[in-house]
């Protein structure tokens, strides 16, 4: 059974179409990298998958849960997915540990003690066990993003969605976040990653989607697509990334 299945997904903002009839099927364990120019719809597609943006039409099914009307079905979808944002979006009034504990406490309904155990285990996993008492503002960008990954993992999602997780980071901080993501991939997590890190796509990704003007233009094996781009659009996109 596929974990993600969407059919003819459409989404416009203020009359401007952003996604046009997107069909996508993702199996468990796949590491799908989504790339494309800004405005191509890759972030919107990701945000539709956990109903942060609600599609105008089309059908969507995540781990057996169909997206319907109403908040309940959206919440069901979101419980199966974890999301990591470009700007981290940690809750600024909470320590790293409290950020990670909120999901287990309020979504899974675990006790304080159990939630603490979950948070400590996950913070250790992302290498931040010594920083757990700090507020987000006291952490570096890379550390904040690793806390954000731990926070998303804490509710046991079956799919992790990454929306440009390294775009707001200095080059030397990107590596620590990408390493955590690679570990996660090696543990068998199903992941969708919006990124311009084509090296990551080639090394870790099992599948590359190239979006162009709201459509999936290419869908294939990362190294093959990147080495022999089948279209001029992809070729020039790759060129523009490696030129900087």
């Amino acid at each position: 059974m596929s974990l993600i299945r969407c059919d003819k997904l459409c989404k416009s903002f203020a009359g401007t179409p952003v996604l046009k009839d997107v069909d996508l099927c993702v199996q468990g364990g796949e590491i799908v990298v989504l790339t494309g120019r800004s405005g191509s719809g890759k972030s919107t597609l990701l945000r539709c998958l956990n109903a942060l943006d609600v599609p105008d039409s089309g059908t969507l099914e995540i781990a057996g849960h169909k997206l319907g009307r109403g908040q309940r079905s959206r919440q069901a979808l979101r419980r199966e997915t974890g999301m990591v944002f470009q700007q981290f979006k940690l809750f600024p009034q909470m320590t790293a540990r409290d950020n990670v504990m909120l999901g287990p406490r309020k979504v899974l309904g675990l006790s304080r003690k159990e939630s603490q155990a979950v948070a400590d285990r996950l913070l250790r996993r992302v290498g931040l066990e010594t920083e757990s008492g700090k507020l987000p503002a006291e952490l570096s960008g890379g550390q904040q993003q690793r806390v954000a990954i731990a926070r998303a993992l804490a509710v046991n999602p079956r799919i992790m969605l990454f929306d440009e997780p390294t775009s707001a980071l200095d080059p030397e901080l990107r590596g620590e976040v990408l390493r955590v993501m690679q570990d996660l991939a090696e543990d068998g997590m199903t992941m969708l990653v919006v990124t311009h890190e084509l090296r990551f796509a080639e090394k870790v990704g099992t599948r590359l989607l190239f979006l162009d003007q709201g459509r999936i233009l290419h869908d294939g094996e990362p190294s093959r697509l990147l080495r022999e781009p089948p279209s001029e659009r992809l070729r020039s996109f790759i060129g523009s990334i490696y030129s900087d």
């Binding site: 956990n50 959206r74 979101r78 979006k89 600024p92 503002a137 926070r151 998303a152």
Partner: protein, 218 residues
């Protein structure tokens, strides 16, 4: 200039009485105002259908009319219109609560809207419901941001309570008027009244500072 300290000393017991009443009216006024303002502010921030028009009308009426007129209306006109008679103290507290509530609803609305919508996304993405996001993420942040403007409003409310002398409530300013009439010493009495108000507003301001320091604004 002839300043008679004896007049001030003699007036102190009565002034303390007036100040106590002022404090009670203010306390009830800002307590009620906080309750009304928080509910109305959330209705405005989330644009709840229909209700947000009602709140809009309420805020417009209160902000658009002088508080003296509101006090007169509640104390003198309400008994005629609806056969509701309130004591001066009740009318004053209700009037202050309704008045502060209108301004506080705008403070609450602004504070809620100033919280990064990305944090709401992050909360929802975790699987929290909307009310949970409000309670655990947006609310605590909005509360911190509302402290400075709330402090402003509390002080304004305390000072506004002075005009309830028009409906005969024996609060501090009314006491000032009585004492002036009794003693004929306007200089001493009004200086003392001003100092009383200053002490009260200053304590309120310090209290808000303390709260602000406890809850760092983020």
């Amino acid at each position: 200039m002839d300043f008679r300290w004896q007049v001030v000393w003699d007036a102190i017991p009565q002034m303390v009485e007036g100040a106590q009443l002022t404090a009670w009216i203010t306390l009830l006024g800002i307590g009620g105002g906080l309750l009304i303002g928080t509910i109305c502010g959330l209705i405005l921030a989330f644009r709840l259908p229909l209700m947000h028009w009602l709140v809009f009308v309420y805020v417009s009426v209160i902000r658009g009319t002088p508080i003296v007129v509101q006090a007169m209306f509640i104390y003198f006109a309400l008994p005629l219109a609806l056969d509701i008679t309130l004591s001066g103290f009740a009318a004053a507290s209700l009037c202050l609560a309704l008045n502060a509530g209108a301004y506080i609803s705008e403070i609450a609305r602004g504070s809620v809207l100033s919280v990064d919508p990305g944090l709401t996304d992050a909360g929802l993405a975790l699987g929290l419901s909307y009310p949970q996001v409000l309670l655990h993420v947006v609310g605590p942040l909005a509360l911190r941001r509302s402290i400075p403007p709330l402090g402003n409003q509390f002080i304004i409310s305390l000072k506004d309570s002075a005009l309830f002398l028009v409906i005969g409530v024996a609060e501090l300013a009314q006491k000032g008027e009585q004492l002036t009439a009794q003693t004929g010493r306007a200089l001493e009495i009004w200086t003392a009244v001003a100092v009383f108000y200053l002490l009260m507003t200053f304590s309120l301001a310090m209290l808000m500072r303390l709260l602000e320091r406890r809850l760092t604004i983020l």
